[in-house]
Amino acid sequence: MNLGFALGHLMAQAANTASWWKPIQASAHASSVDSLFNFIMYLCFFFFVLIIGAMIYFVVKYRRKEGVPIKTSPIKGNHTLEIVWSVIPGILLVIMFAWGFKDWLAIAVVPANAMEVRVTGQKWNWTFTYPKEGIVSPDLVVPAGQTIKLVMTSKDVLHSFYIPDFRIKRDVVPGRYSVLWFDPAEEATHQIFCTEYCGTSHSNMLSKVKVLSSEKYEQWIANGGEEEGGAGGKPIPLAEKGKKLYESRGCVACHSVDGTAKVGPSWKGAYGTAHKFADGSSLASTDENYIRESILVPGAKVVAGYPNVMPSYQGQLNDKQIESIIEYIKSLK
């Protein structure tokens, strides 16, 4: 009957593969968290079997039988037993606290030689800015073997930056910085979640940590944070890059490409057509300046009938990226 031991056996070979019930251990910290997790889990199985086993044993042994005169024991308490079962759990609890506190301090104090990356969470996407290189990217691309320090803040509501593979999580509070660090060991891609409820597309606020070898990382930095060309290494057409930005930068959450109006107007056939604005003025045909202005200062000319809720992408998209988005919109006839 005991689920615990089956699980324990499965647990044993959980080294670096994602077992069916635990993410992989991508860093030293992850394995130390797992070892405390296992310690508490074995302890809980032991006490669970002790308590529930005793309960079942008593129910079976002292089950009332028909016709047998009932004689029950007059025991009302037993001071030694009561002291024993307060002190022993007390000691075990202190051990759990101390071990948890030790590991937790390790994750709180950032090592010295960490490479700093700034993270901005906003309603429903993450953006990562590399201060030295001035690159802004939707994914966290890092070289293997280099400790990374994340300095995070939010633009609107509470979010929470969570990488299960590294077992780290920190709330991203608007108006304040919060700090997190991890040391990626070898090349891999890890999933990033938002775990603090933040509204409509809280479940779509996902991103990736791409751990590259140092050469590939240098290459990535060299061409300004864009994945170099498709398979054949030839440059990707601008509209194609625009489509990737459309999906990764959160435009998809409010603008559709098939004509249906969502939170914002649809991009299908938008280029070159007339638009009436909320403040009564209108524009004969949508041109590149209007699109660029709406990306950088969305509140300037809002299309009539739509809420003025679009966040500004000032400083998050460089000119080449805005160029490719405009190309993409043009291609949507």
């Binding site: 009932i70 007059p74 025991i75 308490g77 037993l81 030790k102 937790w104 780290i168 304040r176 775990t195």
Partner: protein
Amino acid sequence: MDSNRNSAPKSAHAASAGGVEPNYLNAHKGIWSWMTTVDHKRLGIMYLVGILTFFAAGGIFALLVRTQLLGKIFGGPGKQDWLFSGDTYNKLFTLHGAVMVFLVIIPSIPASLGNFFLPLMLGAKDVAFPKLNLMSFYVYVLGGCFLLFSILTGAVDTGWTFYTPYSSTTSTSVVSAVMGVFILGFSSILTGVNFIVTIHKMRAPGLTWTRLPLFVWAQYATSLIQVLATPVLAITLMLLAIERTMGVGIFDPKLGGDPVLFQHFFWFYSHPAVYIMILPGFGVISEIITVNSRKQIFGYKAIAMSSVAIAVIGFLVWGHHMFTSGQSELASAVFSFLTFAVAVPTAIKVFSWVATMYGGSIRLNSAMCYALAFLFLFTIGGLTGLFLGSLSVDIHLHDTYFVVAHFHYVMMGGTMTAFVGALHHWWPKMTGRMLSEFWGKVGCFFVFVGFNITFLSQFLLGTKGMPRRYANYLPEFQTLHQISTVGSYLLGLGFLITLIYMIQSLINGEKASKNPWEAMSLEWQTDSPPIEHNFHVQPVVKHGPYEFPEIDHSLARGGH
């Protein structure tokens, strides 16, 4: 939905044996007599009907949430969800949370069974302030209407925790929901005041503090928390409402406030609130296990004192909800240590209950089945709290499905199982009818199995890193979610069976005697259902509540 409200059992139901005096149900006739009653028993029944109705509503929201989480393969950002859009799903889980917490589980045992049985157990004619009791009921109804009004005008999508700055910037009707909870808080405070004064001032002659049934001790500790914690929730929600309407800048960072401050204000109430929920459940379990094992409780003083200890230490640990929320390292360490301290009295209680069964003569009626289910489920719930209490593991598990499974094991597996068990234990006394033992056990089986399937799978989802409150999810979580949803249907079925045979027992259930379980505490010494002012003659207490005749004191000298 429930028949108690309108069909007070047929007048043909003659006053039970015991005397010509009519019982509390048919002493007065007509809806008006029910609406203006100050009799604690009738108020208990009215609360019970309200709580069960809202429990059904909350349950339906839960089933809708679980059905959404069957989920279509999640195809990437912006993919349309298969059943509900993101917004509707957010409103559903918020309503499930708010209705279950504020309207069902906080008043569940104290307001319905506490109101009904506290005066009976103390040998008193009524609670200390009967009119205040009636007012608390109407405050509860008014609070419920405010919440329903907020549902009709577009519902709330902030989660039952109303975290700012989302709750102060979202466009849904947060203010009316917050006002509803503000009003419900006063019903909780006034009930707490009422019970503390009743326990202090209206005990029967001879009923000293060490002869009180443990349900009364648990109710005393709960009322202590209700009185001291709920006002802070009232002020927090009032500040939130003012912030939304007038832009007061205490919590919203745009206006210069600090959202982590809101979390401190909120959890200062909400963690003691989870002890308001579980402590009455402890009281009920102590009653059921002793009566059905025919044995003294093991370590009466330890259990009574641990209830009060939990109530007090419960106020020191709220920071463990905020380990990852930007709280300072020193505060997190202090809160983590105190969280482990509060685990000790809870452990003492569980060990003492199991020890009570040693050397007993255990009768497995449906109430005892629910009590054993409680022990199983609450032990898992309590033990998984240790994972969330230790700092480094909580960083991984916070706000994932591990937390969802943990608090459902403690609240649903703990308090609601104890509540349904208590209903089975005291049903004969409340309604004068017996419940069918067979169907009771069938219902308990489905609830137990359905519950475990639903929430054991969620522990595994949590360790895999599946975050909370997600409308759709990555493909690797799909199978576990589908298992969990199937489990939730079984759980719903279990409660449906329970509801059906409870209604059936009201209609033509077999008559109940004065003391079907041969218990020794005072509520079993009056008729069932009891007369309007409880006791024909004022009872005098000479011995403790668990001195069963079957206890063989000769064994003590001989010892075995």
